[in-house]
């Protein structure tokens, strides 16, 4: 069971949260000029990292706000949470 720290509410059980995928994917500007490849890249292609992964979570059964988590996708160890727009922690890769 993951213990996730919401930057606003503190540490809570994983069942209070919903996962929202890879973090730091900015919606491209000037979308009318994007090629099909650039659209595919934005919409579908993911890093799917084996190791330290930065991802979006939503505190669905709490404050309902989105925030970022850095988590190891092999050990599932969470190295930290941070608010959107902040610079995140860099955990060890174990």
């Amino acid at each position: 069971m993951l213990l996730i720290e919401c930057p606003w509410c503190g540490e809570r059980d994983e069942s209070e949260f919903s996962y929202a995928g890879e973090a730091h994917i900015a919606r491209p500007l000037e979308t009318e000029k994007l090629s099909d490849e650039e659209w595919a890249n934005y919409l579908f292609l993911r890093k799917n990292i084996k190791g330290l992964h930065r991802e979006l979570w939503n505190h669905a059964a709490g404050c309902r706000r989105y925030f970022n988590v850095e988590r190891n996708t092999v050990s599932y160890k969470i190295s930290g949470s941070y608010k959107i727009g902040e610079q995140g922690p860099v955990g060890d890769d174990t």
Partner: protein, 416 residues
Amino acid sequence: MSKYSIFSLARNAMSFHQNWEKVWRSPEPKKQYDVIIVGGGGHGLATAYYLAKEHGIKNIAVLEKGWIGGGNTGRNTTIVRSNYLWDESAHLYEKAMKLWEGLSQDLNYNVMFSQRGVYNLGHNLQDMRDIERRVNANRLNGIDGYVVGPEEIKRAIPALNVDAGCRYPVLGASFQPRAGVARHDAVAWGFARGADQHGVDIIQNCEVTAIRQENGEVTGVETSKGTILAKKVGVVVAGHCSVLADMAGFRMPIESHPLQALVSEPIKPVLDTVVMSNAVHGYVSQSDKGDLVIGAGIDSYTGYGQRGSFSGIEHTVAAIIEMFPIFSRVRMNRQWGGIVDTTPDACPIIGNTPVKGLYFNCGWGTGGFKATPGSGWVFAHNIATGAPHELNAAFGLDRFTSGFLIDEHGAAGVAH
């Protein structure tokens, strides 16, 4: 290699079954092959088997980082069906179903394919509309199936709770009589034996660490057992295709999630078919040993650890108890997880890649086992000819750029 038959059984009985020959050789890798298959699961072994048998390419190596049948091939809930909604996937899975029906004879290895039927339950009006639509689409594609009502379901599955007053009442189901289950380990072993008989080298404990390329063409792979050269490399790795794509220098529209399953202690025969439900989200069958084989949905977050979350177990068991209150005191024996590569449209990616000579067959998500022979069949054709088979032409990586997605999410049922 000797053929398995009643006579070979009698002959080996004379020596108290001490002298059966090994089912496949375990050779050291050669320096060079015509084709390298990365991944020794069911799909990879089937690809090698059909490459050798149908396309006459015998100089093949199958590289497996663990052992044969130790990945998702040995971790699934063994359900086989072909009742997918859209034409592209229906044709692909139905090709697999036709191969399943003759597979034990073809491989001379009993894969214990049991066409005990699969029920997909509907619990509300929209479920029933979707079921009717899917059954009609299936029948237009020549796939068997019909819609059944609660009375008929109750007759076929007495243990299922169809009371009108329960939280998720059973309003009906789709039934595919030709669907069923197969013994997953036997599928891997049977294909391994078949491929080996055609001269394919199966190399276990051999992990690929890099993909060699020159001028945009693949030239071989680096492995934990040294460099192995080949002009054609087929990657069939459930759970790690993003890692392999990263080695080759491109990205995939894939996210890897843990999916878990569990089996109960063996109990007396109680369920002679397969029951799946999308709304309560669980599926269950009973193995020949008597254990209930239970599965449900993936964990929401991505992960490469081959284990599932505790809340996942809770959801799974809750769904099964909702359908079968009689199972509430059955004890669970084992629980495990596998990594499934999910795509945005819940359909696999089979075909060519930006690197010449490098082919990918991946992204089968939660339901790849049922497609094992069909997947190998089309991928073997793709590798041998360099161009997709008509059945996998629609499943190329380019569909995420062109927009021609095959949206099976929910259509075929999220529960596999």
